[in-house]
């Protein structure tokens, strides 16, 4: 008697240069990212907005959440260019991590490689776009708005 192998939804292992997570209830983030969308979650019961997305709302204890798209421009809160990397990220050097403020939420990610360093200023407007890494993994980066 053959037993059907249970399918494991480990889409999240595609996220970032190195992913440390495979099982999460927010796996649809990856499917959205494959379609070029960066998405957060909104609680359908109390309206709380979450980025990074969450499967559960700690404000009202609901798990009734829906996806929304991160759209428009955010303001650069801060950034840092790494010249030294943790294990697994050396091939990416140099790269810059950054934080964008969208008003009701913030997004942590990387600056696009082709964004000239001398043009990067705290307070400048950027937008978030999906990105495919050389190793086939997915992430998102900040580009000129």
């Amino acid at each position: 008697m053959s037993e059907k192998k249970k399918e494991v939804d480990d889409r999240f292992k595609k996220f970032g240069t190195v992913s440390f997570t495979s099982l999460t209830k927010t796996n649809d983030f990856i499917t959205n990212l494959e379609q070029g969308k960066i998405s957060g979650t909104r609680c359908k019961d109390c309206g709380a907005v979450y980025f990074p997305p969450r499967a559960d709302c700690c404000k009202c204890l609901s798990s009734n959440v829906e996806w929304f798209d991160v759209a428009g421009k955010g303001k650069l809160v801060t950034y840092s260019k790494l010249e030294y990397a943790p294990v697994g990220f050396g091939e990416d050097l140099p790269y810059s991590i950054a934080l964008l403020d969208y008003g009701t939420y913030k997004v942590f990610g990387r600056l696009a490689k082709d964004l000239p360093e001398n043009e990067v200023k705290v307070g400048m407007e950027l937008k978030t776009v999906a990105n495919k890494l050389p190793n086939g993994q997915l992430n998102y980066v900040f580009v000129k708005a």
Binding site: T17, P52, S80, P86, I97, L99, F108, G109, R110, V122
Partner: protein, 388 residues
């Protein structure tokens, strides 16, 4: 609640690579503290063991250490809040003693970081942040603190030279602290170019000299109730206030990037409990894992207004002879930062200062001291106020 005192403090010399096991390393700090307290191991009611566990092969180190230190059959507890583990251990010890559950508790912090490479260490410390949403971008501790530094510079006009001045101060005292890992002087010239010894880029705007060195080390603090304090010690140092806080592990969940909210929250609690203000503090130990961390600490603790921390270091006000001496033992930058041992070492420094036993690092007649110990990138905070 009854009064709670510290009657014994100890630490190992902080070194780049300790030639022994974790239990032997922990023994060094414990022996010094126990002798200092004049107690015997059998007088200790319980132990609290503190470290960040990912550096060692040993699982559940509390039991192993308690046995090696002669602390059986007393209970032992393990606590972890990354780099603030042993000040969290102190808070647990305070609670155990103040509640009357135990009359004395040994807080033992240790870390043997040298068993893994620096790059592996960065990767593991980076995983003290959000491994699902941030670590996949290639994060590490210096990069996170660098983001705070960039925000502080953009908001207040703080410069890289202001940060370098903090490193210069740390080295001034690291040279005279026999327990420090880095005993050499540091000058601004050493930051001059990317090829200079302290000027190499790590994560902009932070450079090599802005970062503390990994170290192996242990610390121990003996915490007792009032009755034991009077029985065993001529110079008990009292825990006057103890505050703690946590915040979002995500940078995206932080409202402020030019400071650490956990530090402000913990300080407010500790000041209120002790019934003192920033003006009453005579000597302080702050968590300077990076130079920017000390700058932000000046402001969170109320030694300077937000954005004015640079005036303190430019005016040398945080040197031994200044209005508020900070990290006059070399701090994490020069003394070294063995994660789990750091908080206990900071407590030791302030206890010795308040007793007048700090040797060449002694500040003139301090009565009230403060310890600020941060875990992760401002994820956890503990502020402890001590008095004679």
């Amino acid at each position: 609640m009854g009064k709670v005192a510290i009657i014994g403090v100890g630490q190992s010399t902080f070194v780049r690579s300790y030639p022994g096991s974790i239990r032997e390393l922990a023994f060094e700090g414990f022996r010094e503290a126990l002798k200092d307290s004049t107690m015997k191991a059998s007088d200790i009611g319980a132990s609290v063991v503190c470290s960040a566990p990912e550096y060692d092969k040993q699982r559940s180190p509390a039991g192993v250490l308690a046995e090696y230190l002669g602390l059986n059959p007393q209970p032992t507890f393990y606590v972890e809040t990354l780099c603030s583990s042993s000040s969290t251990g102190l808070k647990l010890a305070y609670s155990l003693v103040a509640s009357g559950l135990h009359d004395s508790v040994a807080v033992i912090g240790f870390q043997k970081m040298s068993e893994i490479s620096s790059a592996e260490s960065q990767e593991r410390m980076g995983r003290g942040a959000d491994i699902q949403w941030e670590s996949p971008f290639g994060t590490m501790m210096p990069a996170y603190y660098a983001m705070h530094a960039q925000a502080h510079m953009a908001k207040y006009g703080t410069t890289s030279e202001d940060l370098a001045l903090i490193r210069v101060k740390a080295a001034t005292y690291g040279q005279i602290n026999e327990k420090a890992v880095y005993r050499k002087p540091v000058t601004l010239d050493m930051f001059a170019t990317p090829q200079s010894p302290m000027g190499g880029p790590v994560s902009s705007p932070l450079r090599v000299g802005d970062c503390c060195a990994n170290a192996d080390g242990s610390s121990c603090v003996i915490v007792v109730n009032e009755e034991k304090a009077k029985a065993f010690s001529k110079k008990p140092i009292w825990i006057l206030g103890i505050g703690s806080a946590s915040t979002s592990v995500n940078m995206a969940g932080r409202d402020i990037l030019s400071g650490l909210t956990v530090a402000k929250e913990s300080a407010d609690q500790a000041y209120k409990m002790a019934g003192v203000t920033a003006k009453d503090i005579d000597v302080a130990e702050v968590h300077d894992c990076f130079t920017i961390a000390e700058m932000m600490a000046y402001e969170a603790l109320g030694f300077a207004k937000p954005g004015e921390g640079r005036d303190l270091i430019r005016g040398k006000e945080t040197y031994k002879e200044g209005s508020i001496p900070v990290n006059v033992d070399g701090g994490l930058l020069s003394k070294g930062h063995p994660i789990g041992a750091t908080g206990g070492s900071q407590i030791r420094t302030i206890v010795l200062q308040l007793r007048g036993e700090a040797g060449p690092m002694q500040v003139k007649d301090p009565k009230i001291g403060l310890v600020h110990n941060i875990g992760g990138v401002g994820l956890y905070g503990n502020v402890t106020i001590l008095g004679r």
